[in-house]
Symmetry: D2
Subunit: 279 residues, 4 copies
């Protein structure tokens, strides 16, 4: 269910990563080697902070229900924009209908959110989860997915001031709701969150067997390893991505994020910490 | 905000009414003389009980976000099916997004529901209305409109056993919620409901200035008045429609449904009664 | 590039075959075991002659650019209509854009046409092929595919009076055009044609390695072999299908159509003949 | 049939003109006071040369079959990009199907083209017009409109070296074809062409009663006339637009382009010349 990519670094045209890599995100929409579903053709989205944009401003996004592989507008746009931080997502719908409001990423003010995985038996849990959302935020929920509900639950629980703490609380809340309804292993997924300057990516599932997640090696290291590799030249020294599965087979280029971990990408680079390891 | 048509009578191809009349519903999608909005181009839907179908079976529907006037599939379908009872709707979106799950009619089991009008400040009222919906029905709400929420509230309040009573209660409940939030005149609209054998159409608004609603004259009477009118020949003796605005300028063909009235179409023909007249 | 199915027999809801079989056409849209492409998600179409329809009348069709697997309207329609003869198609676009006018089947008067495969280097051959089309038919070409061009070329060459001869001539004409442009093996495919009472299906390619094609065994034979198989009961004694690949793993149920063969389905049942075997 | 806008000047977000003016192009899609059709809801497009782009590079475009008024992606994009020269178009389809390849503007290499109006009886003239297109350009025609055919005919006749001469020749050629087929007044329209640094806009019809066309007054003049008008401040000194109808009621802001005229917008500003005045 879904594949995603989060980039931070020097301003880049998203097409460089989502179209022109060996196992690009758009290629993964038609054939994802590591995905739970092979085909991720139920819509896509891209959210980006424009190069030269005002800090704290809301990002732009482009979302569509078309399969990513046959969308001409995505190809145009992915080459026309430049961005120092963007999210991209291809969807394999697990249940909620295929409509633009259900495409990732989701946006609230200057925040973006996307998800690969599912809240199990979401139909049963949905009412309780929706009740947990701040009534002032309730009208801002535009779609009907588990992922967006999780985003607004986390916003309710303080995402804007403590992203890691709020995501932990939101997950615990869904697990409580699931337990009360006798739903086994209610939370599954990798989640990505950003405020436009920092990216938090969570790999977590109640059953501790989460969807795959990888981050890219430092550019300096990669260039030292592959001094003749022309296609690395388009990337700046700080270019990093966190992604559902490797974009290339290049040995050493992508490293797995461990189970129950939060990965952070910011001005100081990439680092990771345990997340909800002790239940 | 929207135009709709409900037909009951001898099996008919919907195209006869929604495409081939002078002011057909599809013509109204591009230009509605009496509508609050001139253009109703934000999607459409048609729900029908097939001729020869099993009594009590769920109807089929076809809904799309395209403007009705440029949808080739609608033209095909409207001429390919036969139905003794169908609903058709063209939408002018008042806020909730343009997506298939927000297109009317809405369906639950063997019931169909459609609406022209709006619940005012629905964003503010939505959480309270959703809380009023039976938790067992909550997962069946697929879209995000005020209209569908009203349908499920009425289902919760007994629509399947007492349609008129349940619609009255649902409207009163929304008016209570609106009053508590200081929203003036929260309910506006005409509503159509059917179980496949009978149609109930409600013209009501809190302010008692509701969207237009008309019903068609008996065929025998029309044929006596216009004995030479060829285009009446396609209709059976029991053909009747309730519709947002007249489908033709033919004098006497369409009669206005009074304010605060429920109109009923069943085997015995058309009749109407006061509805929520004494606030 | 594409998968298709043609049915003739007692009136049937298409859903029985395109949705409810083990390897249904809609399942093949997401995963086709024998197809040149695994995913056939670039639109779909269904064309049908309604049960009880007027002989010689044009069929209805429903075509969409959505992947077949996520189209709610297709599910509705496939269960709501009854037809003694229908075509269904899922597309994997080889080049021409994904738009409704490029979805199969194509229709002209009472005829339907669909294709799996491709005219190689169609961009180069297109002008010459289009010039071969009767100027009176030229405005009826609504899309931009090789398949529709082939249909109108065959109509020009007498499809309505001699389908087998006209298809042979059209293929030879394209091969001539291809040869003149030094295009190797210009024609590849399986083609299905119907006038509403008879189906002709062609398996042919210049290189004599054509896309797969199968026909179903007689119902009487199947029922004798599998007397306890409940799911055969929905089919009438004359139900037959010609299809890109078997709809089920049931041994004996589907038989391959040989290379360079025309298969015919009519009131007398299924028969086949060599087609363009001697080059 | 259609409304369009062409901008040249200091880099601007297109939303400033197509969304935020009094009678913006998107407002005209729902209600065009001067258009032949009131509603222009059959798709839209925007083509732009990015700010800071390479001279002579192909522009980007975004086209969709949705009505412009309900497209969320258009709103996002129109505020996210900056461009010193862009085309925007809303369509009212005259016949050719509503599909992305039929949305304006059309692009070839670094050129953009758009049209408001029609070639009369295009179905009859189409084959002859297509035959007039250079066989090498023929495969580049992706859609099925009269407008795109005119673009490729003009490209064949030298648009890239002499835009005014080539447009004149292309129009004369269509008039010759129309005359041979006894079609009265075959050409109607306003046409816009650009190579990324200069815009040519043609107002011409065989009958000399062409669709409306306007250009905007110089910014210095406007600011002198309206020194207190805040909304003029977003525009640079060289900002100019050519547009189907005025974007505002501000007296003096928009001036009509005369019948049978070519208007040119380039680094030296706006100027106009007679075009095909003597038949």
């Amino acid at each position: 269910m879904c594949r995603w990519l989060a980039y931070a670094g020097e301003p880049l045209t998203p097409g460089t990563l989502i179209l022109e890599t060996q196992h690009s995100l758009v290629a993964q929409s038609l054939h994802s080697p590591m995905g739970k579903e092979t085909v991720n053709g139920d819509g896509f989205g891209i959210g980006w902070y424009p190069a030269g944009g005002v800090p704290g401003a809301a990002p732009a996004f482009f979302r569509s229900v078309e399969p990513a592989w046959h969308d001409e507008n995505l190809r145009e746009l992915a080459h026309a924009i430049h961005s120092p931080l963007f999210f991209a997502h291809v969807r394999a719908a697990a249940g909620p209908p295929i409509q633009q409001t259900n495409c990732h990423p989701f946006r609230h003010e200057n925040w973006l959110f996307m998800h690969n995985g599912a809240l199990r038996e979401f139909g049963l849990m949905k009412r309780d989860i929706m009740l947990g959302i701040d009534p002032a935020l309730f009208p801002a929920v535009h779609g009907t997915t588990d992922s967006e509900a999780m985003f607004y639950l986390a916003l309710t629980l303080g995402l804007r001031t403590d992203p890691v703490g709020a995501m932990a609380e939101a997950i615990r809340e869904v697990e409580r709701i699931g337990r009360a309804l006798s739903i086994p292993n209610p939370v599954q997924g990798t989640f990505a969150v950003t405020d436009g300057s920092r990216i938090w990516a969570f790999r977590y599932s109640t059953e501790h067997r989460s969807r795959t997640l990888f981050y890219s090696e430092e550019m300096d290291t990669l260039r030292a390893t592959y001094p003749d590799l022309d296609r690395l030249r388009v990337f700046g020294a700080n270019a990093r991505v966190i992604v559902s599965e490797p974009l290339t087979d290049l040995p050493g280029a992508f490293i797995e994020v461990p189970e129950s971990t939060v990965a952070v990408l910011d001005a100081s680079g990439y680092h990771q910490e345990p997340f909800l390891r002790a239940a």
